[in-house]
């Protein structure tokens, strides 16, 4: 139960983070369509890092399971 709440909470954070990354990447791509490939790479890395932080939360929830 608490594990689920914890996982949910970490997902909220990751959702906001990845959403912001995606939105900013969209803006950047709209501004500089020629840099799309580069922006995408950086975006995916940043998203993976944010996701990693969220998964830390999930792991901590798992530890309490």
């Amino acid at each position: 139960m608490y594990a689920a709440i914890g996982a949910g909470l970490s997902v909220i954070g990751a959702g906001i983070g990845i959403g912001r990354i995606g939105g900013s990447a969209m803006d950047a791509i709209a501004r500089q369509p020629e840099a799309t490939a580069k922006i995408q790479t950086v975006m995916i890395i940043a998203a993976a890092l944010v996701e990693g932080v969220a998964l830390f939360g999930v792991v901590v929830s798992l530890m309490g399971l």
């Binding site: 792991v59 798992l62 530890m63 309490g64």
Partner: protein, 166 residues
């Protein structure tokens, strides 16, 4: 920490370390080294080929420029030659014309001379013939005049009569 998921097992750690080390050394020796070398070699060869192509392109540009210059030179030379030929031709024609003129004049003058000579010869001949004719006529007349002895006498008489004996 009671969840088995987040407690690493020693056995798995030992095995993973061992297997990964073996994998790393074998792949590094037998796979990555030749693959990376081949990729690098190929890239180098491609770079070389590209460099060569660039160099060839430059050479080609230089060569075509050279060709252009050569062509221009040839064209100029041809023009020059044509010009020369034209002058030579003109000169030849003029010379020929001059020679022809002088020849013609010479022929004409010689013809005129010949005509003159012929004319003179003809006149001389005519004169001779007239003279011959005159002599013949005179002979005939004389013969008739002096056909008889009386006539001869009368003539001698008249001639003796005319002589003045001084």
């Amino acid at each position: 920490m009671n969840n088995p998921l987040v407690t690493p097992e020693l056995g798995l750690i030992v095995w993973t370390t061992l297997v990964f080390c073996i994998l790393f050394f074998l792949l590094a020796k037998f796979a990555w080294k030749p693959i990376l070398k081949a990729v690098k070699d190929r890239e180098a060869s491609i770079e070389d080929a590209l460099g060569l192509a660039e160099q060839t392109r430059k050479e080609m540009v230089a060569l075509s420029a050279n060709n252009e210059a050569l062509l221009n030179k040839a064209r100029e030379e041809r023009d020059e030659m044509l010009k020369d030929a034209r002058t030579v031709k003109d000169k030849m024609i003029n010379d020929a014309k001059a020679i022809a003129n002088t020849e013609a004049e010479r022929i004409i003058s010689s013809a005129k001379e010949a005509i003159q000579n012929e004319k003179l010869a003809a006149i001389t001949d005519l004169k001779n013939q007239v003279a011959t004719l005159s002599i013949e006529i005179a002979e005939k007349i004389l013969k008739q005049e002096l056909a008889t002895a009386e006539k001869q006498r009368s003539l001698i008489d008249s001639a003796v009569g005319e002589i003045n004996l001084n």
